[in-house]
Every structure is written in structure tokens, then in C-alpha cells.
């Protein structure tokens, strides 16, 4: 894999959008990693939860928008309940998802496919939550 | 909505720069104001501080005089109840000034123009917050005309 040099840029408009949507302070984070250590949904994540905040602190939103992490977050609030800095990571994940979904044409769940998914016996709760999480 | 409304008021009183007199006790609030200074916490220059040994030194006359001479707001700040350097001074302040607050309301001075708060020496943040808050409210209310001595021009 080729390494590319990045330039930290905290003035990006997405950073502002994320703070506005989530109302969380990303600079509060000390990078202790307690969120990652306790995350029950970690196995599907390519970027660790604490790294999500670090990348935001460096202004690397693009990497996050392309990651699987933001879709894997179950918003269970385990991280928040243990975070020494009271950073609500699930809100930041939600903000990141919204930034993707609000871009024109982006839809993570196609409604036409729902009957098919139902046939595979996904619990209804999951479908409802999927609508909230994956659809505009 | 409230933001829009306040904008309108400010426009109406174009150029209105409120004057606010703050009586601060030497041990807590004056030190809190010093801390706000050392921490470079911004608050508007409209607030002018008068140092008193204890908030209980503030006579109702001083407050009335300030309003009479054209102040648009008055703040009295002391130590938190129980923390008074002189043991019980701020309890007297609390009683006396709640009476004065009633009187001021009765004679038509808006409640927001007269603020009593407790700010300790370690609460530089709170000092700046209270000052900003009072100023914003007084700004909305516009100049104080009720008690102003007509012979006194600012």
C-alpha cells in the first residue's frame, strides 16, 4: 500500500457540519481509546472509534465518509457511558452518516429491497432502525 | 424567534451603548473579575466595576443613585452564600437586595436591569458569563429612562 502525506485541515466545512449536527466537541477527546476497548460492534469497523475522532481532529473527513465504521456503529452508547470526557461518539457517527446521506443520490437502503430482506427473517426492529440509519 | 426580536430592538436603539455598574466584593467577585482578566475572558467594556469590601456594604442608595445618574443596569456580586469572608455579609445582601428588587419592580424598573449573583474567586468564567448575560438583556430593554434624573445628562 502506498502511503500518502496528508495535510491537516480543521477548517473544512464538514467539520463544522459535524459539530453542528452532533453538538459534540471533538477537541475534548484525549485519545485514551476506552471507546474502542469497549465497543461491541468493533468487528465490522475498519477505523477504530477513537481513530474516528483523531481523524476528525486532523480534518480527514473523507476517509471517515468512506469507512465501514460509521455504518457499523450500533449507537448503543457504551462508549459514552464510559468516556471520561463525555464525548458522545454515537452522535458523531450519526452526523457522519447524515453527511453521506444528505449528498444527492446517496441511499444506503433501497426500499424496494425491503420485502426481500424481510423474507430473510430480519427482525422488524432492525428494519425500522435501518430506515432511520440508512435512508434520507 | 427571540433572536430576530432582539435584533429589531437593537436596531431601534441604534448606537445604544448601555452603561452597567457592577459592585463587586473584594474577596470573591472582584477576585473573580481579576481571574476573568488573567484568563483573558472577554466581556463588554460597558461594565464598570466598583470595589466594595463586602457585598453587604452596598447600600440601596448606591443602586438608586446609579439608576438616577443614567446607569442602564446594576449588578451586585458577592461570595457564594456560606463563603462570605465576613461570615454572614452576603446573607444580609441577599435579604436587603431582594427587598430592593421588589421596590424597583414596583417603580417600573425592569427586573433584568438589576442582577444579584454570587461569583467566587475561582469563577472567572462565571463572571464573564454573568456580565455578558446582563448586558445582552439590558441591550434588549434599551436605555433606562424611568429613574433617570432629568437634570442629569450623559
Amino acid at each position: 500500500m502506498l502511503r500518502e502525506k496528508i495535510t491537516p485541515d480543521t477548517t473544512k466545512k464538514e467539520i463544522g457540519q459535524i459539530s453542528e449536527i452532533s453538538d459534540e466537541k471533538i477537541l475534548d477527546c484525549l485519545q485514551c481509546g476506552k471507546c474502542t476497548a469497549g465497543c461491541p460492534a468493533i468487528h465490522g469497523m475498519d477505523i477504530m472509534p477513537h481513530q474516528v475522532i483523531r481523524l476528525l481532529q486532523l480534518g480527514q473527513v473523507d476517509k471517515l465518509l468512506a469507512s465501514t465504521t460509521i455504518w457499523g456503529c450500533a449507537a448503543c452508547f457504551t462508549c459514552l457511558s464510559r468516556c471520561p470526557r463525555k464525548v458522545d461518539l454515537s452522535k458523531i457517527m450519526e452526523a457522519l452518516r447524515l453527511i453521506v446521506l444528505r449528498t444527492k443520490g446517496n441511499q444506503r437502503l433501497e426500499i424496494d429491497k425491503v420485502p426481500e430482506l424481510l423474507a430473510k427473517q430480519i427482525p422488524q426492529q432492525a428494519i425500522v432502525s435501518g430506515f432511520r440509519k440508512y435512508v434520507k | 424567534m427571540s433572536v430576530i426580536a432582539s435584533d429589531a430592538v437593537i436596531k431601534k436603539e441604534a448606537g445604544f451603548e448601555p452603561l452597567i455598574v457592577a459592585f463587586c466584593c473584594n474577596w470573591c467577585s472582584y477576585a473573580g473579575a481579576d481571574l476573568a482578566g488573567t484568563s483573558r475572558l472577554n466581556y463588554p467594556a460597558n461594565i464598570k466595576i466598583i470595589r466594595v469590601p463586602c457585598s453587604c456594604r452596598v447600600n440601596a442608595n448606591f443602586v438608586l443613585r446609579a439608576f438616577q445618574r443614567g446607569a442602564d443596569g446594576v449588578i451586585i456580586a458577592g461570595c457564594h452564600p456560606g463563603d462570605c469572608h465576613y461570615m454572614t455579609g452576603n446573607y444580609y445582601t441577599r435579604r436587603r437586595m431582594s427587598l430592593l428588587k421588589n421596590l424597583l419592580e414596583f417603580i417600573g424598573i425592569e427586573e433584568a436591569r438589576f442582577k444579584i449573583d454570587w461569583i467566587s474567586a475561582s469563577e472567572g468564567n462565571k463572571f464573564a458569563e454573568v456580565m455578558n448575560d446582563v448586558l445582552a438583556k439590558v441591550h434588549q430593554l434599551g436605555p433606562n429612562r424611568k429613574l433617570r434624573d432629568s437634570r442629569w445628562r450623559r
Binding site: 457504551t78 | 482578566g37 463588554p44 467594556a45 466595576i49 445618574r69
Partner: protein
């Protein structure tokens, strides 16, 4: 006629960068009474002070206004300068145009206008200033030290060394505090008891020091030089003079169920106990809640066995009243309660312990005789996980937002001791940041990593799952992003330090202030770190903020020096800004007497001649040595007969007028 000299300080660029000095000078020129204006870069410097002195002598000014930093900073400096030039120091007035103006405003024009306004108010006040001559009051040559940890011990020894009487009040049965519980001390690894116990013995043998152990201060009145203190000596149920400390009672006591406070609950103690063998004083205490004699009335074994008949079940609390010149507060700290940290399972598993409990487990005098074993099965652990910042740097309700300061170092020490004693035992330390600011501290911590092979992991533990035999620790290495799973035998939590729960009460009693973390506040964070805002009361040790032993000892000695400074004076100068009664106006209603918290106002009967007749009339009278100058009475006075010198009604009204112009 008042001739006012105004001195405007630039404070380098601190003031002059936001306030246009020229404009201020120009605005002040037109004020009646102002005859001399001077601005200078550093008014508080010697040259600046000379400007003030010269102007007093040459320009004949008799009122001085200095527009500079806060009066809390340099009022004393300029008063001294004025006094040196022959002017009464209380004719000096300060306008605070730095903390209250240039530092908080960005708009240059607004700041300049405000500076003018504040200086004008100071001039208005200065014109009305009167010469004040402070009174004098005697000093009680005796110091009170509250708290018998290393801070209190050091302070007491230092004051006694200077030749003054010291009373030390300790709440628990023995002095020694937290330091007595520790095993080794960083960064030199010398044994804590070996360096502390000689000091404890010194203190016990020192004829200048009087120790009130198992006692509490219940009331404090008065002021610097003359504090009146009430001490409650709790009933020990043992006569101190008769007890020889033989220890028969401790050994034979049948009630051995109570958890030892000194051993952090890791061992049991008898109902009659001394906290630890080297206790000072070496006199036991009966814990009346667990003693069979006190609970059921049937036992009394200790009284039967005591060879000197020292046991006294009828003993009552004793109240001692004593006067002191100074008070040093050295009440120490506690560890936070870990109940709310569910993920660490501290409450649910005996093998998850705090750092202080670890100290007891490795201490040769501890419950295991210095053999490190797991509390659950008494087996020696093979893998120990240390977790730092448990509750420190934690903004949530569970923890403390500040850094506890000592944990990085003591965790390194623990891991090092562990690896030293049991080289086959692995040590893992989870940390957020390692902070080793201190002499020899960084080298110490690096030694733990490089020489002792302690594994440092930057990251935190998410949760601990107690298993059958071991504790499953799920953590993360934040640097690599790898998830870690460790099977640990013992987990040590570096719990945050916090102020004592009694801090609020102590602060209220002494009328000193506490910060939002309930540590006592020093008078100035940099320049007056051991004084409080209350004259004559000083701080030592961790009651003022988290501290390690060297810092505590340094502060304790500093507090002692400050205390000796007061004790060495025969007379103290009073604050002359006190209330005074215009007796001709006084109606004798005496509403002021009820207001005064210092009982400084008394009733007086004066003779008055009216139309040739002599009449007796009741008026109020202020005792100037007792009055502290709060001014509460001035507002209560119906006829307006009481005024406060230095802050008179006329002066404050003049300030209001000047500001509202």
C-alpha cells in the same frame, strides 16, 4: 485643597496595547483636582515607584491615583511607596485598568474610554480619601496545625524549631496520614515508614508540640493573631497518661470483626486498636460501635487485663478552648469512590484493588507481611494489570476533571516493585499520557520500562470480566489500534485523588474559600501559594490540590515560615478601614449590634449637654480592633450615623457619579 497626582502604567504592552495612554492622559487633564499626570512603562518598578515618591515631594501632591493592575496585586506596593515619601498610605487609590479593562476588551476605543472612566472614578474616590492610622493588636504566640499527615507533621516541627508552641489536631487515633500507609516512595524507592516514623517520634518528643490525636476542631472565631478555637477531644475510652502501650488489650480483645482502616479494609482489627504498630501516640482507642462492652454491656475483658487500669468505659468527649496566632490547614486528600465505575468491577471482585490497597499488599508490615498475593485465594499473581487515570481527567459526573498528579509515578513504582520482587510476574500499565514532571521522575519511569520490562500500553481498558480463575481485561492499544485481551490475576486501579469530604465544613469554619473541586484556594495561584484569603491561615499539602511528598513537604515548610513570620511579631497592624460611628447622629437604635458578625459594636452611654442640661444618651460604639471592615452595619444604620473608613458612602457615591457621567 486636594492635589491629585495620577500615574498611568503601561504594564509593558499589557495595558498600552489596548488602551491609548495618550488619550487617557488628555482626558484626565481637565478633571478638577488633578494637578499632575505621569505615565510610565512599568509603574511598579523601582523607577516607577520613584516617580510617585518624587511627585509627592516635588509636586506637592497629596492624593495618589495609580491606574495599573488590580489593587489585589500592587496596592500594597504603591501604599508603601507613598508612605516612604511621607504621605499617609491610605491616600493612595488604584484604578484597575489591566485585569478589568485591557485584558478583557479587544476594542481599543471602548477599552480606552473605560480606562478613562475607571481612572476618573478612582480620582473621585481619592479626593475624598482621608488619612487613616491603623491600630495595633497583640499576637498569641501559638500555632494550630489541623491534620497530622506528613504536611502537618513537617509544619509543626518547623514552627516548633523556631521556638513557638504548636498544637497539632489529628482526627484519627494516630498521626502519619496517608504516607504511613505507603510502602516505598518514588523516585528513590526509600521506605516510607523509615523516613516518616522518625519525624513522628520527633514530634511526639518535642516539648513545644502538643498533640491532640483523635480530636477535631469544631469552632474557629477571631482573626489573625487572635484566633479562638474549640477542639473536641473524642473519648478514647483509655486514659492517655496511664497507658503504657503494652498491647495486651489488642491481642486479647474478642471482637475482631471490624475492617482495619489503616489496612484499607484488607485485614481485620480488634474493637480496641492502634491503627498501626508505630502509631503516635501509641495509645489504643476503643471503637464503640464494634466493642462488645459498648454494644451488649457484657465483656470488659480489656479492663480486667490492663496492668495499669487505663481503660475507662465512662470517658466523655472533652472540649478544649485555646487561643492561637495562626492556623495551618493540612487536612490532606482521599481517593475517589469507585462505585460508579461499573466497567472496572471494583466492588464485585476482590482481586481488583486500588493503588493504596496495593501499597498495603506489598508492605512488609502489611496484612500479608509483604508477600504479594491475590486477596481472593492468597495465590501469587503471575500477571498484573495497572490502569491509570481511573476517574482522573474525567469530565463526567463519575470522576474529576483534573490530573491527580501522583498516579503516573506511583504506578511506575508499583510495577517496578512487582518486577523486582517477582521477576516471573508480568506487569502491564494502561495509560492515557505518562506525566513525569519532577526531578528524577522521567528517569524513574523510563527505568521501569527499560530495565524492569514493564509493558506500557497507551490506551484504556474497556471492561474487566471476572472469570473463574482470572480476570479478563479487554483493552486497546490506541497507537496501533489493536484490541487487546489479557488474562490478569490482579488489577490495580489508580483511582483519582479528591479533596476530603469535610473540606466544605472546614472551609466554612475557617471562612477560607474552596474551588470547584473542593480544594482550598490559595490567595494567589503564583505569588501567594500557601496563604489563604483569610490572614493568618495557611495551607499545606494535598488539601490545596494533588501533590506528591516532596511538594507537600516543601509547601508545609513554606507555610511554617509564613506562620513564624506572624508569630515573631509582638504587634500586628490592623486594617484601618473600619466602621466609625458619628455619635451625634446616632439614634441609639442599636440595629448595628445585631448585624455585626464580630461583636465589634457595643452599647455606650454618653453624656450630652443640651440647653445647659446634662443628659445621658445611648449610642453605638465600634471596637476598632475587632471590626474587620465589612460595612454591613453602615447599611443597617437608619440615621446614617455609621460609615466605613476607606469606603465611605460619599466615596462610593462619588465613584458611581464619576462612572455614570
Amino acid at each position: 485643597m486636594q492635589r491629585v497626582g495620577v500615574f498611568i502604567c503601561w504594564c509593558g504592552t499589557n495595558i498600552s496595547s489596548t488602551v491609548n495612554i495618550e488619550q487617557v492622559v488628555a482626558a484626565l487633564e481637565n478633571i478638577p483636582g488633578v494637578v499632575y499626570i505621569k505615565d510610565y512603562q512599568y509603574m511598579c518598578s523601582e523607577i516607577g515607584q520613584n516617580l510617585v515618591k518624587d511627585a509627592i515631594k516635588e509636586q506637592n501632591i497629596n492624593r495618589v491615583v495609580v491606574a495599573s493592575c488590580s489593587p489585589r496585586m500592587h496596592e500594597a506596593t504603591f501604599r508603601k511607596a507613598a508612605a516612604a515619601a511621607g504621605l499617609n498610605p491610605y491616600l493612595v487609590e488604584i484604578a484597575n485598568i489591566r485585569e478589568h479593562c485591557s485584558w478583557v476588551h479587544k476594542d481599543k476605543e471602548a477599552a480606552t474610554q473605560k480606562a478613562i472612566s475607571l481612572t476618573r472614578a478612582a480620582v473621585a474616590k481619592a479626593i475624598l480619601n482621608e488619612q487613616l492610622i491603623p491600630g495595633e493588636v497583640g499576637v498569641e504566640k501559638r500555632a494550630l496545625v489541623i491534620g497530622g499527615g506528613i504536611a502537618g507533621i513537617q509544619t509543626a516541627l518547623d514552627i516548633a524549631e523556631a521556638g513557638y508552641q504548636v498544637d497539632l489536631v489529628e482526627k484519627t487515633p494516630s498521626i502519619g496520614g496517608k504516607m504511613a500507609q505507603l510502602d516505598k516512595t518514588f523516585p528513590t524507592l526509600d521506605c516510607s515508614a523509615c523516613i516518616l516514623t522518625p519525624k513522628m517520634v520527633d514530634l511526639a518528643l518535642n516539648s513545644k508540640i502538643n498533640l491532640y490525636s483523635y480530636s477535631e476542631v469544631t469552632e474557629v472565631n477571631g482573626f489573625v493573631g487572635n484566633f479562638e478555637v474549640t477542639i473536641n477531644q473524642k473519648a478514647r475510652s483509655i486514659e492517655m497518661e496511664k497507658c503504657t502501650g503494652c498491647g495486651i488489650c489488642l491481642a486479647k480483645c474478642p471482637a475482631k470483626k471490624a475492617l482495619s482502616e489503616f489496612e484499607e479494609g484488607l485485614a481485620k482489627r480488634a474493637a480496641i486498636y492502634t491503627p498501626f504498630p508505630q502509631a503516635v501516640p501509641n495509645v489504643p482507642v476503643i471503637d464503640r460501635e464494634t466493642c462488645i462492652k459498648f454494644v451488649t454491656g457484657k465483656c470488659g475483658l480489656c479492663a480486667k487485663l490492663c496492668p495499669t487500669g487505663a481503660i475507662d468505659y465512662e470517658q466523655k468527649d472533652q472540649i478544649v478552648n485555646q487561643k492561637y496566632g495562626v492556623i495551618i490547614v493540612a487536612t490532606g486528600y482521599d481517593l475517589i469512590n469507585l462505585d460508579r465505575f461499573g466497567e472496572y468491577q471494583y466492588l464485585d471482585h476482590p482481586d481488583i484493588i486500588t493503588g493504596l490497597e496495593f501499597e498495603r499488599l506489598v508492605n512488609a508490615a502489611g496484612p500479608t507481611g509483604g508477600k504479594l498475593v491475590r486477596p481472593s485465594d492468597q495465590k501469587q499473581p503471575k500477571k498484573v494489570v495497572f490502569i491509570q487515570c481511573v476517574g482522573s481527567r474525567d469530565k463526567s459526573e463519575r470522576g474529576k476533571a483534573y490530573c491527580s498528579k501522583i498516579c503516573c509515578m506511583y504506578t511506575a513504582k508499583h510495577a517496578m516493585l512487582l518486577r523486582d520482587k517477582y521477576p516471573d510476574c508480568e506487569a502491564y500499565v494502561f495509560y492515557i499520557d505518562v506525566r513525569t514532571a519532577g526531578k528524577g521522575f522521567e528517569e524513574f519511569q523510563r527505568r521501569a520500562v527499560e530495565n524492569y520490562g514493564v509493558n506500557y500500553i497507551k490506551g484504556m481498558v474497556g471492561k474487566i470480566f471476572p472469570g473463574d480463575n482470572q480476570l479478563q481485561v479487554n483493552g486497546v492499544d490506541a497507537l496501533s489500534g489493536e484490541l487487546l485481551q489479557l488474562e490478569a490475576d490482579l488489577v490495580v486501579l489508580a483511582a483519582a485523588t479528591q479533596a476530603k469530604p469535610e473540606a466544605d465544613e472546614v472551609a466554612r469554619m475557617l471562612s477560607i474559600s474552596i474551588d470547584r473541586d473542593r480544594f482550598f484556594t490559595e490567595a494567589h495561584p503564583k505569588l501567594r501559594p500557601v496563604e489563604t484569603h483569610c490572614a493568618g491561615i495557611y495551607l499545606a499539602g494535598a488539601c490545596q490540590g494533588p501533590k506528591d511528598i516532596p511538594e507537600t513537604v516543601a509547601q508545609a515548610s513554606a507555610a511554617a515560615t509564613k506562620a513564624i513570620g506572624v508569630l515573631s511579631k509582638n504587634k500586628l497592624v490592623n486594617n484601618p478601614c473600619v466602621a466609625k460611628v458619628e455619635q451625634a447622629v446616632c439614634s441609639g437604635c442599636l440595629a448595628c449590634i445585631k448585624i455585626c458578625p464580630y461583636e465589634a459594636i457595643t452599647e455606650q452611654v454618653i453624656e450630652e449637654k443640651t440647653r445647659g442640661k446634662v443628659r445621658l444618651r445611648r449610642v453605638a460604639e465600634v471596637n476598632e480592633t475587632l471590626c474587620q471592615g465589612c460595612g454591613g452595619c453602615t447599611v443597617a444604620c437608619r440615621p446614617g450615623a455609621i460609615d466605613l473608613k476607606g469606603f465611605s458612602n460619599q466615596q462610593i457615591l462619588a465613584e458611581v457619579d464619576a462612572i455614570c457621567r
